[in-house]
């Protein structure tokens, strides 16, 4: 890893609050940190500490109240909603705790979904999906619906979907939260491979010490503030 | 009571969904009530018919007249208290759109036979004195502004020419179901004019109206009248006033039947909508039902909850629908004007509306209640939405 290379995520003085009725609840009170390209970062902290909020902002699905946030060189706080949607489709891969697959689409179709936002032909899309399926080891399940897959298999489909557009960063919100120990280990290995072999930058929010152990960098969030290591 | 509280709170969980469903029921019950009122209005003539009046017309069809000379013979028949006659005039008031029934009647005897047409005695005197006088119903007075002293000109269609009358009185109906959209004038005026213009058409009447000494004489008198004129130039057909009115209805029966069918269709539509709502609601609460079962509540209790909620929503919507039926029917009746001279929401209609609302609520709850009763606790607890 080249330490002097441009960090892929640059955050400065990020502030975010939520409104609950007439109360304003501060969630992030001035976060500053960088994430290097190819890093595997785990964000940990007690519930309500704002780690998911931070992740959401890095992923471009939420906007901070103030502060600067640059991902892959782009100031995403300045993008309009349409531009952000576009940006996300090219730069972010999502891995959710509950997989978030479309129940009425097959594994193949779920993975294909992000490619519908590109100009690829149906045949080209098929080739990419096949490659992704084989990478996560589910080629023989491509026609199955999520209800016909186990939790671990569903998460692998989700991961295949996350990498299909060759995104800049992978964000994972409690990826092992709904899995048993064995499946969780499988998933974490897979993520590790994506980080190591494909050089994907991974930012993961987790409670799970097993998951945190796989990460290269662990940051703790406490009441909206970051603490080192 | 706990149960009621539970039902109402459950119904209000999804305010939008419950609101929309209730709105749908209001619309459906309202439409149903309106349609049934239309059907009732169709039969209004028959409903207002008197049991002590008979109508005698030409046996071939209503379009053919009867000779004036029959009057004397009818009066002599046993059981006949009084006789009068009327001619359908069918004139046009300004334009064809302003349709209302006009009759040339034997004034004194006719109004005696129809006590439900109430006229102030002073006005009646004026009318009897004026050959060209006319008495109009309250509904006409409201629609066209007729008042005593007004001149009204009718363009004749059956009896050609422009006929001028002077309104001498306004009659009110003794009951709500009395038709007050009719226009009466003197047969004598009609006859005099026809004697000059087309003598062959003079001294004829459209129908005879017979007043019975008592209602149970109806069959006997009917037979006697028709027997008297059998094998004559103009054979008669006598029937009770109700049968006479029903005769008109039966000619447009197809339409009435269609309206009745449609009124039930609307109930089916809303039943489908409500069944859908309850099915969705029940499916979303599968885990809750399973939990209740785990706690020890039996399938009957679950069914009661679902039925209760469904009936509550249907009942609320139904009640509002019934309440709204009255003003809407009033408006509709006014718009229809003389097409439906009597347009009242009957008690039976309201009862049917209530029954319909409850039926919808009950049927809609059937399948969901059955499903809920059958939930296996373990499966149900795992169920996500």
């Amino acid at each position: 890893m080249d330490e002097t290379a441009q960090p892929v995520v640059e955050i400065a003085n990020l502030v975010k609050s939520y409104r609950r009725g007439d109360q304003i609840v501060p969630v992030l009170t001035g976060i500053t940190f960088d994430i290097a390209a190819g890093d595997f970062v785990a964000l940990m902290g007690p519930s309500g500490s704002g780690k998911s909020t931070l992740l959401n902002m890095i992923a471009g699905i939420d906007k901070p109240d103030s502060g600067s946030l640059r991902v892959a060189g782009t100031d995403i706080t300045a993008l309009s909603e349409a531009e952000l949607a576009d940006w996300r489709s090219h730069h972010v891969g999502f891995i959710f705790q509950f997989y978030n697959l479309m129940p009425v689409l097959t594994a193949f179709e779920n993975i294909e979904l992000p490619l519908l936002l590109t100009d690829l032909s149906a045949r080209e899309r098929g080739e990419h999906v096949a490659a992704a399926l084989s990478m996560v080891g589910l080629t023989d399940r491509s026609d199955h619906y999520p209800s016909e897959l186990s939790g671990g298999q569903q998460q692998r489909v989700a991961i295949a979907r996350a990498i299909i557009t060759d995104p800049t960063i992978l964000v994972a919100d409690e990826p092992t939260g709904d899995l048993d120990r064995v499946s969780a280990a499988e998933i974490l290995n897979l993520i590790e491979r994506l980080n190591g072999e494909l050089g994907k930058t991974v930012i993961m929010v987790t409670h799970d010490p097993q998951a945190a152990a796989k990460a290269h960098t662990v940051r703790h969030l406490e009441k909206g503030e970051l603490s080192a290591g | 009571m706990y149960f009621l509280k539970l039902i109402i709170r459950n119904a209000l969980r999804h305010k939008l969904r419950t609101g929309l469903t209730a709105l749908g029921i209001v619309v459906a019950i309202l439409a149903f009530g309106l349609l049934r009122t239309v059907v009732d209005a169709w039969y209004a003539g028959a409903a207002a018919a008197s049991a002590t009046r008979l109508v005698t017309r030409n046996a071939i069809s209503l379009v053919f007249p009867l000779p004036l000379t029959y009057m004397g013979k009818i009066r002599q028949i046993d059981g006949v208290k009084s006789v009068s006659h009327a001619n359908w005039f069918g004139g046009v008031y300004i334009t064809e759109k302003n349709f209302f029934p006009q009759f040339a009647v034997q004034a004194q005897s006719y109004f005696a036979l129809y006590p439900e047409f109430v006229v102030a005695p002073a006005q009646m005197r004026e009318f009897l004195r004026d050959r060209k006088g006319a008495i109009a119903g309250r509904k006409l007075a409201t629609t066209y502004g007729f008042k005593p002293g007004d001149q009204v000109t009718l363009r004749g269609t059956i009896f050609p020419g422009n006929w001028e009358f002077v309104v001498r009185g306004i009659y009110d109906g003794a009951e709500a179901k009395t038709d007050t959209s009719q226009f009466f004038f003197h047969w004598d005026y009609l006859n005099e004019t026809m004697m000059k213009l087309a003598p062959r058409r003079a001294n004829t009447v459209g129908v005879y109206v017979i007043g019975l000494t008592s209602a149970d004489r109806a069959a006997a008198v009917t037979a006697a009248v028709d027997a008297t004129f059998r094998n004559s130039l103009a054979e008669t057909l006598t029937e009770t006033e109700q049968a006479f009115q029903l005769g008109f209805v039966s000619m447009t029966e197809a339409i009435v039947v269609a309206i009745k069918i449609v009124s039930f269709l609307v109930i089916f539509i809303i039943m489908a909508v409500m069944a859908n709502t309850m099915a969705m609601t029940a499916r979303e609460r599968t885990a809750e039902y399973a939990t209740l079962k785990a706690l020890g509540f039996g399938p009957l209790a679950l069914a009661a909850m679902i039925f209760g909620e469904s009936l509550a929503i249907a009942g609320a919507g139904g009640l509002l629908g019934v309440v709204l039926t009255f003003p809407v029917a009033g408006r509709f009746g006014a718009e229809m004007g003389s097409l439906f001279p009597v347009f009242n929401v009957g008690r039976e209609t309201v009862a049917m509306q209530g029954a319909a609302a409850l039926l919808v609520g009950a049927v809609a709850a059937c399948l969901p209640a059955l499903r809920a009763a059958r939930i296996r606790i373990a499966d149900g607890l795992r169920h996500v939405g």
Binding site: N56, A59, I61, D62, E81, A82, A85, D86, W87, R88, S89, H90, V92, F94, F96, F98, N100, V104, L105, L113, P114, L117, R161 | L16, R17, L20, G24, V27, A28, L30, A31, I60, S61, L62, V63, F64, G90, V92, E96, T157, I158, P160, L237, S250, M251, T252, A254, A258, V262, L265, V266, F268, I269, I270, A272, V273, N276, T277, A279, M280
Partner: protein
């Protein structure tokens, strides 16, 4: 950038009961809507095809209908002598002096009497109406007490079938034939010799005159002439226009009542669609958030849910239309309020009606699905994802 159609379609397919109920409600509404349009069209066709553009009907001024009209022999002679009256092959004037009478006949299978129109025609009466063909038996002999019945009248009334007899005007009349008038109003009539009928009913005057124009464009000319003539008090109309006007009241009533009902019903169906779609959005909030996170735009979400509602409505629409098309097997017979005689007509489905019906169901889908689709599109990504 579009969310695939299979996503929309399969979501409807998965929730079969809900889809069936919602589409079913819409199908019923569409059924009523289509049926009313078909009824109106059937009525219009029956009456418009009654009568020809080249024929003229003359009745007494202001009498509105033949039943209330009277034309005496003197007037008839004057009208016949007009130059615009066409001449036949043998030089005879193509005129039919007709007399029309309403008679009470009993319907087959019931004891209910109904008004039926008996038309006395001149021998040329059939010739003047080329759309009328004998389909059984033969035409009546002039000067006899023979009559022929329209197909509909023969079917529906006791004694009007071929070989049967009717009693009216103190005489027995034998039915010697059945004619088909192409589903027009004439199908509900019974025809006989005008002179014989006038004698039987002791009517010395005719009800109307029917003649063929020698030049179809000369109608305005002859109408003006007849109305100016001081010896006459008549009005003239093209035959097809006359019959179209006869049904105006009934047609208007059907249209008014039918459309009012359809509007009211459609409110119910739209409400049903809204309930279903709101639930659909609520159940798939997580999916919506995911799709937005992946980069799909708000308008794609809007389009997907709107499409779902429209698809639902189209299914209902097709089902309702299919059911309505079965109504073509039925005939309605009712009294025409203006002519006072019974008229039989059927439901007629035209491509125009089918198109209007599908458009109507589409509209219901759009109206019902619009607000829920907007709600789906307006969800904030983080809120939607949190809902899981």
């Amino acid at each position: 950038m579009r969310i695939p159609f299979s996503y929309t379609f399969r979501n409807l397919w998965t929730r079969k009961l809900t889809t069936a109920l919602t589409a079913g409600g819409m199908a019923l509404v569409v059924f009523v809507f289509a049926t009313v349009l078909m009824l109106e069209e059937g009525l219009r066709k029956t009456l418009v095809e009654t009568g020809s553009h080249d024929n003229v009907v003359v009745i007494r001024r202001s009498s509105q209908t033949e039943v209330q009209s009277a034309i005496d022999r003197g007037q008839a002679a004057i009208i016949e002598s007009q130059p615009q009256v066409a001449l036949g092959a043998g030089g005879e004037r193509l005129v039919s002096r007709e007399t029309v009478v309403l008679v009470n006949l009993v319907k087959r299978g019931t004891e209910r009497p109904t008004n039926v129109l008996i038309r006395g025609v001149a021998p040329l009466g059939l010739t003047l109406r080329p759309q009328v063909r004998m389909i059984a038996g033969r035409a009546f002999r002039p000067g006899s007490s023979e009559i022929i019945a329209g197909r509909s009248a023969a079917e529906r009334f006791k004694g009007a079938g071929i070989g049967e007899t009717l009693w009216f005007g103190l005489r027995e009349w034998r039915v010697v034939g059945t004619f088909d008038a192409g589903n027009s109003g004439f199908d509900s009539e019974i025809w006989g010799d005008a002179v014989q009928l006038m004698q039987a009913f002791r009517r010395p005057v005719y009800s109307s005159l029917l003649f063929r124009l020698n030049d179809p464009e000369s109608f305005d000319q002859i109408r003006a002439q007849l109305e100016r003539d001081q010896r006459l008090t008549v009005e003239a109309k093209r035959e097809n226009v006359y019959y179209a006007e006869q049904s105006e009241l009934l047609a208007k009533f059907i249209r008014y009542l039918g459309l009012t009902l359809s509007v009211i019903f459609s409110v119910g169906a739209v409400i049903g669609a809204m309930i279903t779609m709101y639930a659909s959005v609520a159940n798939r909030t997580g999916e919506i958030g995911t799709l937005r996170a992946l980069g799909f735009r708000r308008r794609s979400i809007l389009a997907a849910f709107l499409t779902e509602a429209v698809l639902l409505a189209l299914v209902g629409g097709c089902a309702g239309l299919a059911a309505a098309s079965f109504m073509q097997m039925f005939t309605i017979s009712t009294m025409n309020w203006q002519s006072f005689s019974e008229l039989a007509f059927s439901f007629t489905l035209t491509p125009d009606i089918a198109a209007k019906t599908l458009l109507f169901s589409l509209a219901m889908g759009v109206v019902g699905g619009f607000l829920p689709a907007i709600r789906a599109a307006r969800l904030k990504i983080v809120d939607a994802l949190r809902a899981i």
